[in-house]
């Protein structure tokens, strides 16, 4: 405990002395990794909470099917459900979180990665039961990582990336929908994320041909071209309400496509 106090004291002191880095760095050697380069859905929601008071419950969607034949589609939907979990968390809605936790477990079972995820799912239920919101924030990302870990162990690592992608699309759809309906330039400026979409598109090009040929994955890849243009605005020039609406329309349509059960 004394050690922590020392750390806190040092941090408090250092906070008084902000510094600049020394030299410009060469970006060509920069590393981009799924784990840190793509933010969690909770981060964009936290940013929106700083400039507005969104009614997160209004961003819920109807329960999605939990039976799909395409493994790529299952992975995308698990990511989307994790993003739904963050929305319910912002709304502090324990029943909704429990429902989402159950759906994540069901979908994970169809990927045969359920064993470790079931344990996480149970933790989600317990934390939701006790309204432990901070612990739930940790647990949601942990659950997503547990799915990814299980996929890696099953030598299905190509699907890992689709879990992240599904979460990012759902998170962007929700935030852009709220901003489109409650437009301010300040809120719209949050949507500036050229680095994420550029990284996503590069990663999609690395996917095996079989996954790239999946009609749903192909649709997402096509739409990302326009999404990249919409979130790559200059830093001092936030998108107009019409541009945010366009972003909302594209990402919401993708969310629908991802969750739609194919005949």
């Amino acid at each position: 405990m004394a050690h922590f106090r020392l750390i806190l004291l040092s941090l408090a002191c250092s906070a008084l002395l902000p510094v600049y880095g020394e030299d410009t760095v060469d970006l060509k050697n920069a590393i981009r990794v799924d784990s840190l380069t793509i933010p969690s859905p909770g981060e964009v929601m936290a940013a929106l909470n700083k400039v507005a008071k969104p009614g997160w419950q209004s961003e819920y969607r109807a329960p999605i099917p939990t039976l799909y034949s395409s493994r790529a589609q299952i992975a995308l939907n698990i990511g989307g459900l994790v993003a739904d979990g963050y929305i319910a968390l912002e709304a502090e809605d324990s029943q909704q979180i429990k429902n989402i936790g159950k759906d994540i477990i069901t979908l994970s079972k169809s990927l045969a990665v359920s064993e470790s995820v079931v344990a996480r799912g149970k933790s989600i239920m317990d934390f939701a039961e006790n309204n432990e919101w901070n612990a739930l924030k940790e647990e949601l990302e942990s659950t997503q990582n547990e799915v990814k870990l299980a996929l890696i162990q099953q030598k299905d690592s190509d699907l890992v990336y689709l879990v992240t992608l599904g979460g990012w699309i759902r998170g962007t759809a929700v935030v852009s929908n709220w901003i489109a309906n409650n437009y301010t330039p300040e809120a719209a400026a949050i949507l500036r994320q050229p680095g994420i979409v550029n990284f996503i598109r590069e990663e999609m090009r690395q996917l095996p041909e079989k996954i790239q040929a999946d009609p749903l994955v192909r649709t997402i890849a096509d739409k990302l071209v326009e999404i990249e243009a919409l979130v790559s605005f200059p830093s001092g020039k936030p998108p107009t309400q019409e541009e945010v609406q366009r972003l909302r329309d594209i990402t919401s349509k993708l969310v629908e496509e991802i969750s739609k059960k194919k005949e």
Binding site: Y20, G21, T24, I31, S35, L36, E43, E139, I190, Q193
Partner: protein, 145 residues
């Protein structure tokens, strides 16, 4: 606080490792433990510790540069710890063009952190640099609020 650290330790220990390190697993585990201990101080201040980490090797004069994508209005702390071979670690932050930005530094031997509050959403770069010591491995995580 102890409960919080235990939860963080359990969560992070179960994570898939992104990045590569040639370091012995025991030393990496110690590295993770140290990074969590430091991050625990931020969690106590309301920061949410991301449940993802990056690990890699490091040598003096060969810093690692990692792209992150941040949101205006949020506050971030980037926290790193290196294995014992590293004697002085430093974490710094750069904008999307590679220019240095104003950040809050923290350094304590082989542990370091950088606090940053972006006013513009977009890509940024976190540099982990070994200022003295022998080749080592490091673990990087971040927290936000």
């Amino acid at each position: 606080m102890i409960r919080l650290i235990l939860i963080l330790s359990l969560l992070l220990s179960a994570l898939p490792t992104f990045g590569e390190s040639k370091e012995h697993p025991d030393r990496l585990a110690e590295c993770r433990s140290q990074v969590l201990q430091l991050a625990g101080a931020f969690a106590n201040d309301g920061f949410k510790v991301r449940d993802s980490r990056f690990e890699s090797d490091l040598a003096p004069n060969t810093p690692a540069l990692i792209q992150v994508n941040l949101y205006a209005g949020n506050q971030y702390w980037f926290v790193a710890a290196a294995t014992d071979a590293s004697k002085k670690l430093r974490v710094s932050v750069y904008d999307e063009k590679g220019h240095p930005v104003k950040y809050e530094p923290y350094s304590d031997g082989n542990k370091a952190a950088a606090g940053f509050a972006p006013t513009i959403s977009g890509p940024y770069y976190v540099q982990v640099q070994e200022e003295s010591g022998a080749p080592a491995s490091f673990c990087l995580i971040y927290c936000y609020k």
